[in-house]
């Protein structure tokens, strides 16, 4: 029985955690020899005969194709993947006890542990095991959301790629060429419509729809209050401002402030974005 952790075991908690975070986020080619050994061990640990064949796949899409071919379309990737290196949180917990304590009878876990080290996605069948490569890279924004503004955020070596804007998957053309303004703003998916507007930039959209100037402040950092009629969206109000980095951008603002008073100057709109009254607003630099 384990009833107390010694100093070395306490230190091991951090080591184990960091090791498995690294495994979970790993990219790059799998070690195929090690993956075969790990897959055979996983089957043995489960009391099963080893698979007749280990099928390596260059990406999840390739894995889908191979599973369909070999199973005569009975199975596919989406219905069958059973494990992946990103499940390392589960593995880390058991690995800690297996590595740093004398808790017994955890050998059955070694197959899954070794697969985590050596695979991307895995699908287990009685006669075949399918192992996908890991992505070549995964790009994220500073909050950890998958994101890339000038290419795929996830890419596999065989060219399978996924384009993502701050966690939302978008068509490839939106990243490579930019969304078409009319198409983007008529997209039935509201989240995609928002993302398209972010990618294009509201300032460009307002120019496109020839927004009407309601009030233009002499200070470009206070900006210009605009009204625009967007097809199928209706009348919207925006504040177009110059930020401290020298870029112009546009912020959607309501027609009325929080007290129901009409916003009819750029200063009032700018103050609203800070949650203050126009007479309290003294612009410094908006970044």
């Amino acid at each position: 029985m384990l009833d107390k952790l010694n100093d070395e075991q306490v230190k091991g908690i951090e080591v184990c955690r960091d090791k498995w975070i690294k495994v979970g986020l790993q990219t790059g080619p799998v070690d195929r020899d090690a993956a075969i050994v790990a897959a055979n061990k996983a089957y043995k640990c489960a009391g099963l005969e080893p698979p007749r064949e280990v099928v390596f796949c260059s990406s999840p899409l390739d894995m889908d194709k191979k599973i369909r071919e070999i199973s005569n379309n009975e199975h596919n990737f989406l219905s069958s993947y059973g494990f992946a290196n990103c499940w390392s949180g589960w593995v880390a917990f058991i690995d800690y006890f297996h590595t740093y304590t004398d808790v017994k009878n955890l050998e059955a876990f070694e197959g899954l542990r070794d697969l985590s080290y050596n695979c991307g996605f895995v699908s287990f069948f009685d006669t075949h095991v399918f192992i996908s490569e890991r992505p070549e890279y995964i790009k994220m924004d500073d909050t950890g959301r998958t994101h890339c503004e000038n290419g795929p955020a996830i890419r596999y070596a065989d060219g399978f790629e996924v384009h993502i804007w701050h966690g939302v998957r978008v068509p490839k053309s939106w990243i490579t060429d930019g969304p078409d303004i009319d198409q983007a703003l008529h997209n039935s998916n509201l989240e995609l419509r928002r993302v398209a507007s972010e990618i294009i930039g509201w300032a460009k959209i307002l120019d496109h729809y020839q927004a009407e100037v309601i009030d233009e402040d002499a200070d470009p950092q206070i900006g210009t209050l605009l009204r625009v009629n967007i097809p199928e969206v209706g009348e919207e109000y925006f504040l177009k401002v110059l930020c401290g980095t020298g870029r112009t951008f546009a912020i959607p603002v309501p027609e009325q402030d929080d007290e129901g008073k009409r916003i009819n100057t750029a200063l009032a709109a700018n103050a609203w974005t800070y949650g203050i009254k126009p007479w309290e607003y003294k612009p410094e630099v908006r970044t």
């Binding site: 951090e14 955690r17 494990f83 949180g89 006890f97 059955a108 009685d126 992505p135 994220m140 909050t143």
Partner: protein, 67 residues
């Protein structure tokens, strides 16, 4: 060809967690300490802060390209 995911992952996982539980069950603080500092923190870094989206996005893309 028959799927054996449950036998290879689910059943083995349940078996090893049972073993750990059996041998530390009366020292809940050890279980909790390792759970909070290893399992939860790895999960938070690897899963909650990114790879859940990676899985979703990859699944969506495969679905779209194969339907």
């Amino acid at each position: 060809m028959k799927q054996v995911s449950y036998q290879v992952r689910g059943q083995v996982w349940a078996q090893v967690v049972d073993q750990v539980g059996y041998q530390v069950w009366n020292q809940a603080q050890i279980w909790d300490q390792v759970r909070d500092q290893v399992w939860v923190q790895v999960w938070a870094q690897v899963w909650d802060q990114g790879l859940d989206q990676v899985l979703d996005q990859v699944e969506d893309q495969v679905w779209e390209q194969t339907r």
